[in-house]
């Protein structure tokens, strides 16, 4: 490989690894795509680059602009790295109960953090960021939840990489946050291979982070089209962490908590399949979860469900 002229050129082209010891069905091939290998350690580097490029091209950024984005961590960290390189100040609105490491990384990159109410989860962060942007014209929001640049990043990079490394893919599994990964990769795979099935893993929200006052505060991301996937599974934090530990023990892979949730779903699908190939996208590495003792804590202790680990 030749040297890159910018860290941004090192985004993507992440490794894909077979996890035969983890896979519960020997007739099914399971592969994982390790997005933790991106420069800031998550799949969101792909999205953040497309979001910032989109803002710069749109002409919305002025000399006094501040980029503003709601994020539980990874998108904020990726934006912080890119905004640092491009010279834009960044404010990230983050639920107050995210892990320490996410805050530390934003500090390191010089981003400002505004806390949103933990009990309102990501809904609260989105609502607060949208209010801040409405009140102060200096704030410019890329808005990963509604910006087509988000799924486009996956349509143009993640999807083609999967097809190049594993043209035999039958099933794709990823976590559901904005829906960007599922929409972009899913559309690319379905175009290339019409029979491909696309499944979402989503966290069962803990009791303490469901502080909606009414259902009207519910939220479906604008980029998410429910008809573009084939199924959606709830996974508890405890189940996700169990799968994560098993992955580390059997395959030596050190991944984040949402990756565990994706693996729970991939394993469930593998058990139901006669044969075939599953690709699971693991959104980040385990580094940002060390302070919560994810690899050692007692999973019967319900406090784990109150953490914001996705």
């Amino acid at each position: 490989m030749s040297p890159s002229s910018s860290l941004l050129d090192a985004i993507g082209h992440t490794p894909m690894v077979e996890v035969a010891r983890f896979c519960p069905n020997p007739r099914v091939r399971m592969l994982v795509k390790l997005e933790g290998a991106n420069p800031t350690g998550s799949v969101k580097d792909r999205v953040a680059r497309y979001l910032v490029d989109d803002l710069e091209r749109s002409g919305r950024l002025k000399s006094d602009s501040i980029v503003l984005e709601p994020s539980s961590g990874n998108t904020g960290i990726s934006l912080a790295m890119i905004c640092r390189l491009r010279g834009w100040p960044l404010t990230v609105v983050m639920p107050a109960n995210v892990t320490r490491e996410r805050r530390q990384m934003l500090d390191i990159y010089g981003a400002r953090v505004v806390d949103s109410v933990a009990e309102l989860g990501s809904n609260g962060a989105v609502a607060l960021a949208r209010r801040m942007a409405a009140d102060d014209p200096r704030y410019v929001m890329p808005d990963q939840y509604s910006n087509p640049a988000n799924p486009l990043a996956h349509y143009e990079t993640t999807g083609p990489e999967i097809l190049a490394d594993c043209p035999e893919v039958d099933v794709f599994v990823a976590g559901l946050g904005t829906g960007g990964t599922l929409m972009g990769v899913g559309r690319r795979l379905r175009e290339a291979k019409p029979g491909v099935r696309v499944y979402a893993a989503e966290p069962l929200p803990g009791e303490m982070v469901q502080g909606l006052r009414s259902l009207d505060e519910g939220f479906v991301p604008e980029v998410f089209d429910p008809s573009a996937i084939d199924g959606r599974f709830l996974v508890t934090t405890a189940e996700s962490i169990e799968a994560l530990r098993r992955l580390t023990a059997t395959e030596g892979i050190f991944a984040g908590v949402s990756a565990g949730g994706v693996l729970v779903v991939a394993a469930r699908l593998a058990e139901q399949m006669e044969s075939g190939t599953i690709v699971a996208l693991l959104a980040d590495g385990g580094w940002k979860y060390l302070s919560e003792d994810v690899w050692s804590r007692d999973l019967d202790d319900e406090s784990v469900e109150a953490l914001n680990l996705w």
Partner: protein, 91 residues
């Protein structure tokens, strides 16, 4: 009877319980029985024409019923039904 888990945002309508029982051999029949027992839930869960409210997700054994047979999805007594509000995911 099948156990239905109720999210915090809807508990006031079911006497502050985390889970309630309901009867029905499909998701639709189960929800009809549920809103019959707890009328305050009807307009929260169902649209005027009897469909699922946009901001409500119903899961049968962890799987979103919109990807099964929606309200016609068969339900057994040992299944678990979870109702959740549509919420933004962590990103």
């Amino acid at each position: 009877m099948t156990v239905v888990r109720i999210p915090p945002v809807l508990r006031e309508q079911v006497g502050d319980r985390k889970q309630v029982d309901a009867a029905g051999d499909t998701v639709g029949a189960l929800l009809d029985d549920l809103v019959g027992r707890h009328p305050g839930l009807r307009e929260q869960l169902l649209t005027d024409d009897g469909g699922l409210h946009r901001f409500v997700n119903v899961y049968l054994n962890g799987q979103d019923v919109r990807y099964l047979q929606v309200l016609d999805t068969p339900v057994g007594e040992r299944d678990t039904v979870i109702i959740l509000p549509a919420m933004a995911g962590g990103v």
